[in-house]
Subunit: 412 residues, 2 copies
């Protein structure tokens, strides 16, 4: 990491959001250099102790959350009693404070009239306001419910499984988070030219609908008039599948292009077999559609090659022929790779309670530099400094707010 | 849709990328108003006929790809022979053309020295250049290989399945696409203030590593020293799972907060059962960790309620109690909802070959407006107008380039 200024240095953002989507947006902007202040209720929001936890859920009741501390790293934390009028006024003042590089709010607030866009733009007409929602009407939805509704679990998993398979990764939440950061920066682009602010609403259900529509998957079902069948671990519409090696290791092998297919045939010594098979079947292996149609046959022909060598040997031979492949690993193996210094994007962190954590820098290398990951947050740790720097409150005023319980520091 | 100017109106971007990640970034920026020119080789890149296809892969050899036409909508298309020196000069000129709102390139190019960042910045020192890679060293990787390597398939799917379950959704590609749009706009933010350009490299493998690290999942495995067990369709660390209704319909029910849990108990008439069970087990249902630990027991108690009513009835009762839930649907049902006008984010499109498609507008509602989806692209359709508008070439010069085969229009 160099000392080069980060691209968003000087930009001030206020975040009042929880769980994955909104906080991922704020974290992304913080890692690019923005000063992001996350506002939480005193004692923490509903995501403050979300799993995974230090001690695996069997530890202290106030165990740090690996999730919360990682999704909110690099931000400053302020704790405010948002049930009180004074607390609400502080939140509105933070979101709408004057200044060219201020006036940016990310939230996932529902049903708080005092935080409606209307109320906020009355204070600052050029506010950039990004609001994450469940459904477009503001009603609640989460990653796992919208994923069910757009049909992904029906085409995930082994063909023999008759019921839906949920994804483990909250993919739509992550996509939504990066959509938030895109939206904030697009609105700032416009504001710097026109002086206009923007109210940008973003529903998780729309993220999922757009995601599958953009891949052409709704068109496909509409055109055919029937659902896509489950296809197990095969890559749809081309050739790609997993193979077991002699030592129990597994690899994912992919041939999307004719060149990748030739490399696979070469590595496995099957070029002549597939040439003869093309004639017998009337297939053209240079056409990925034929590779998909005959995927089970191709897989059956390749399987013994993998079964007769261990993963290290298979990998070396695949690499030598420039085959596109990856190994299946557990996360423990990823951790070991990190400890061996293999992944510049990963970083170590110490959580407020003292535990060690593994977190990430920005995946974007800015002129070669991932930047720092950002320090793990502690609830309310920057309450005083944020009130002083962003609202110009005096030490006496802050002390009075704390004694009345309107705001709180890290230990209440 | 209103006639309001889009936020990125006036911004010109050049894209030389294929498959999902880079093109999703460009499409996102196009939907926000940017003029995005996608450069392809004459005849199309390796993603030009990617599945799904019109006619389900059994139609004409030149059947439109629902995938390519949807991921590249709203862009202008130019076809260039990049094996020729003249073609290469045109690509470099398009990427580095002078002008305040130009000089932005998105690519996923590997190994073309004539398109190296060094060559490009020699032409335009303040270039904003976003490069999508497989691995950070530039070697190839795709969504399905990086997903295997970071361990997601090992924790996806039913507990009884012993082998990895790949995701069907190319989730990391989509996250990468929105990271591209974020990176472009962050670099423009900086350039407008400092005059500096940026070379931003983004590896799909780093996107995946950062994604799981940011959720705290690597820390968890490192802290416990063992892998997370597969947990089927359960939401990790809280309560959420699928239930079958009497008509075969299925619902995903989630209770992340104490309020959502109370609503679920109320809807299903199980409040007293769970109160008694809390005493018997020494559990606290307000603590999501206890809801997760006892997820199988909770599921077994709730199951008969769902099994004794059809999905419509269950849904009505869940809604009345404000339970957080979603229904499992096939994509055909999503299509039917779209045809009933239920989803403002979805849009109809006509592809160049005349087929109808379903595509999406931006999920971001900009002051209430999703904007238009953007027209489906046709390879080379805007070759002439782009050369004229961006490079100032005359009709005679363009005609000469076409007759020498350096560039091509929609029909060669």
């Amino acid at each position: 990491m160099t000392d080069a200024p980060r691209p968003l240095s000087g930009l001030e953002i206020t975040e009042c959001a929880s769980f994955v989507a909104g906080p991922t947006g704020g974290m992304t902007l913080a890692q690019l250099g923005a000063d992001v202040v996350r506002i939480d209720p005193i004692g923490g929001g509903s995501d403050h102790r979300r799993w995974p936890l230090v001690g695996d859920g069997d530890g202290a009741a106030d165990a740090d959350s690996y999730y919360w501390t990682s999704l909110n790293k690099g931000k400053r934390s302020i704790a405010v009693d948002m049930r009180s009028d004074e607390g609400r006024e502080l939140v509105v003042a933070l979101a709408t404070a004057p200044g060219e590089n201020r006036g940016v709010l990310v939230d996932n607030v529902v049903g708080r009239r005092w935080m409606s866009n209307e109320v906020l733009v009355a204070q600052r007409p050029d506010l950039v306001h990004l609001r994450v929602q469940g459904y477009p009407d503001g009603s609640p939805a989460v990653d796992y419910t919208v994923n069910a509704e757009i049909g992904i679990p029906g085409i995930t998993g082994p063909e023999a499984v008759g019921s839906p398979v949920n994804h483990a990764l909250p993919a739509w939440d992550l996509v939504a988070g990066l959509t938030v950061s895109t939206g904030v920066l697009a609105a700032l682009y416009e504001r710097s030219r026109s002086g206009r602010g923007a109210y940008v609403e973003l529903a998780l259900s729309d993220i999922a609908l757009a995601g599958v529509a953009n891949l052409g998957w709704l068109s496909e079902v509409a055109g055919r008039g029937s659902e896509r069948s489950r296809h197990g671990n095969h890559v749809y519409g081309s050739f790609g599948v997993d193979f077991a090696c002699s030592d129990g290791g597994r690899v994912m092998v992919v041939a999307l292009t004719p060149g990748q297919w030739s490399a696979l045939c070469e590595a496995t010594g099957t070029a002549e077999v597939f040439a003869a098979l093309a004639t017998a079947l009337g297939a053209d292996w240079a056409d990925e559609a034929d590779r998909y149609r005959h995927r089970e046959t191709i897989t059956a022909i390749l399987k013994p090659w993998f079964a007769s060598r261990d993963r290290a040997q298979a990998g070396a031979e695949l690499d030598a022929a420039r085959v596109l492949w990856g190994k299946y690993q557990g996360m423990g193996e990823v951790v070991a790779e990190h400890r061996a210094g293999r992944h510049a994007v990963l970083a170590d962190a110490t959580l407020p309670g003292g535990a060690e954590a593994i977190t990430a820098r920005s995946p974007m290398r800015w002129n070669g530099d991932h930047g720092g990951a950002g320090a793990a947050p502690e609830l309310g740790r920057e309450t005083d400094e944020v009130l002083a720097a962003r609202l110009g409150l005096s030490a006496a005023e802050i002390s009075a707010l704390r004694s009345r319980g309107v705001v709180a520091g890290p230990r209440g």
